[in-house]
């Protein structure tokens, strides 16, 4: 950063300026850029969430503002900015006002070391993974502050639940990430990506069975850490109204809200970097990519694609799973995720220590095959379910926008539902 600052100062012809001032200026600009990017991503994700929710429930979702309703998030943002920022009379005013900031800072600061591309990273820390895990824990401070300062029983319960949940799930997610760190021998995210390759079988996801399982452990714990359904107990509508942010309105509420969605992208981005080869392009070595701006752009696009797919899965999960109970939540963490992630860490350590290179190749190939087979089975199941309800499939997101009305379709859907469940009660 210092070197960069000096270079920029020279370039601007301002060598005379004190170095600290230049550094501060550069940091400010970088921070603004990152914040803008993150806000945009979070905003787009709020729109994506509603579209995904709509399609999953055979609805259309927001489609009036802009093409496919894409500008809905801008409209919502403007609306939230112009809303009154209500502070409850009995609230602890200072804490109440401060509470959104740790959440926003915790998540936005994490984006500083997310490797969007080979060269597109705000700060390639050599302790990247550690930094990410540490800084995102700042969220719990904000959530707890919000819950306490609101002076509201629902908010307080939500805050306390959130603290318990984030602290608990931090452990398995770190342990699962450690598996990868162990294999790569570095904590730097760029270093970890550099150790992987572009092709799926070169990803750490398919490196060996232990990393394969570790990915799912990491993903589950990360979703739980982000307070996403099915782990959204801190904001369970049915029991806590809205949880820790129940008293918030206007821009402060938007802070929590955007923080949540930025977190969705963040966890997908980390998973992409750790397990999916990040910006690596199949058949292109990192050196080739470093030399060519075109490959750079492709790498950035590929990273965005992978992370976007991950975010989509998180949204998809939300509209699939019911919410867990508190005891189930803790049971899942301490009875299953924690021992399993320990086992995967030990397994990886033993793997690195014991398995010779030629065997590692075989294992890698076998894991990839198994993984792709699982994906194939999954796709088959999807089409099985489609066939059962009639095959009115449309991948075109714009189709159905015109409001075609087909009573027969509803009859078919309902009939298929009845046929499928007719045997259930009998058997």
């Amino acid at each position: 950063m210092q070197l960069l600052a000096e270079r920029i100062a020279t370039w601007l012809g301002m060598e005379g300026l004190p170095r600290q001032a230049v550094v501060a200026g550069v940091v400010l600009v970088v921070a603004l850029v990152v914040a803008t990017v993150v806000l945009t991503i979070a905003g787009i994700l709020t729109w994506a969430e509603r579209r995904v929710a709509g399609r999953t429930q055979s609805r259309v979702g927001p489609n009036r503002v802009g093409p496919l309703g894409f500008l809905q998030w801008v409209a919502d943002g403007i609306k939230l900015i112009t809303k009154e920022d209500v502070i409850p009379a009995a609230a602890d005013r200072t804490l109440f006002r401060l509470a959104p900031y740790p959440v926003i800072v915790g998540i936005f600061a994490a984006f500083a070391s997310v490797p969007f591309g080979q060269k597109l990273i705000a700060a390639d820390l050599n302790v990247g993974v550690l930094y990410l895990m540490a800084i995102t824990s700042l969220v719990v401070v904000g959530v707890l502050m919000a819950g306490w300062a609101s002076n509201n029983k629902w908010a307080l319960l939500g805050g306390v639940r959130s603290a318990a949940q984030i602290v608990s799930y931090e452990v398995p997610s770190v342990l699962a990430a450690l598996s990868v760190v162990l294999l790569a021998g570095t904590l730097s995210l760029q270093g970890i990506i550099g150790k992987q390759g572009g092709w799926p079988w070169e990803w750490y996801l398919f490196y060996n069975p232990f990393t394969f399982v570790a990915f799912f452990l990491f993903f589950t714990s990360a979703v739980a850490e982000g307070n996403r359904t099915p782990f959204d107990l801190p904001e369970a509508e049915s029991e806590l109204v809205a949880g820790y942010n129940v008293e918030y309105s206007g821009m402060r509420f938007a802070g929590f809200f955007l923080g949540e969605f930025a977190n969705v992208y963040l966890l997908s981005a980390i998973a992409t970097a750790l397990f999916f080869g990040g910006w690596q392009i199949p058949g292109v070595t990192p050196d080739m990519q470093a030399a060519s701006p075109v490959w750079q752009a492709v790498g950035v696009g590929l990273f965005a694609l992978k992370a976007g797919t991950g975010a989509f899965v998180v949204l998809w999960l939300r509209w699939t799973m019911p919410r867990l109970r508190v005891d189930q939540l803790m049971g899942l963490c301490y009875r299953y995720l924690l021992p399993l992630s320990f086992a995967m860490l030990l397994g990886n350590a033993a793997y690195v220590w014991l398995v010779p290179q030629w065997a590692a190749w075989v294992v890698q190939g076998a894991t990839t095959t198994v993984g792709l087979a699982v994906a194939g089975v999954f796709v088959r199941r999807v089409f099985y379910h489609i066939r059962h309800v009639g095959d009115d499939v449309s991948l075109d997101l714009a189709r159905g926008e015109s409001g075609t009305f087909d009573p027969q379709l509803q009859v078919r859907v309902y009939g298929a539902f009845r046929r499928r469940h007719a045997g259930d009660s009998a058997s």
């Binding site: 998809w316 999954f378 379910h385 489609i386 499939v393 159905g400 409001g403 009305f405 379709l409």
Partner: protein, 227 residues
């Protein structure tokens, strides 16, 4: 050992059921939405999409109504008010239906001997004042139609054309005549009268309006009230 097996069986069940759940929601994600984007993005006008026998707002074709008041008697909540003058020729001086109170039960159209009182498919009756839904079908007293039960009588008008002419917009203004409806233009028997203003028919009869404190209006002498 059994606990051990159960532990891994639980994990297996979780993975399989979660995967299948994702496949179900995924299959719905790929499917076309069934949303009907009322009001402005339907492929046909909404009325054309409604089921064949849907019961919307009522309309009466006075060219075919002999003024038998069977509908008024049948209505359980008394929202039809008919006045027929004595003497020759007998005139229907008033035929009001309070659509704001009507529950579209259809009990009135059933006894109608000439099938002139019918449910249209119109349903968009949102008004800023409830009285705007009190529709006065008699604009000028009309002689009762000499139609007997079972006779065909004059040909029925297109369904909804009479109501559409009388129904105001939410502010009580007359709606613009729908241009591309050739059938509606063909039959316009009475000269247009401002429909928003309530028509005082006789001083002794309180209008059947949906005033807030509306008890069912006292039965006027000219017609048998709901029994």
């Amino acid at each position: 050992m059994r606990a051990f097996i159960e532990y891994f069986a639980a994990i297996g069940r979780t993975v399989v059921t979660l995967g299948d759940g994702l496949a179900v929601t995924g299959s719905y994600f790929l499917r076309r939405p069934v949303t009907l984007q009322y009001p402005d993005r339907t492929e046909k006008p909404m009325v054309a999409l409604l089921p064949e026998r849907s019961r919307g707002m009522l309309e009466v074709d006075l060219d075919r109504c002999p003024g038998c008041t069977a509908c008024e008697t049948a209505c359980p909540i008394g929202c039809i008010r008919i006045e027929v003058s004595k003497g020759k020729p007998r005139l229907i001086t008033r035929f009001d239906i309070d659509l704001g109170r009507c529950m579209n039960c259809g009990l009135c159209s059933e006894p109608c001997p000439t099938e002139c009182l019918k449910h249209t498919k119109e349903f968009e009756g949102g008004m800023y004042k409830p009285d705007l839904l009190l529709i006065h079908f008699v604009e000028q007293p009309v002689p009762v139609a000499p139609v007997k039960k079972g006779e065909p009588g004059p040909p029925p008008k297109p369904l909804g054309s009479i109501l559409r002419r009388l129904l105001t917009d939410p502010y009580g203004r007359k709606r613009p005549a729908p241009a591309p409806a050739p059938a509606a233009a063909a039959s316009a028997p009475a000269p247009p009268v401002a429909v928003a203003a309530p028509q005082p028919v006789s001083a002794s009869t309180p209008p059947v309006s949906a005033t807030p404190s509306a008890a069912p209006p006292s039965t006027p002498a000219t017609s048998g009230g709901p029994s």
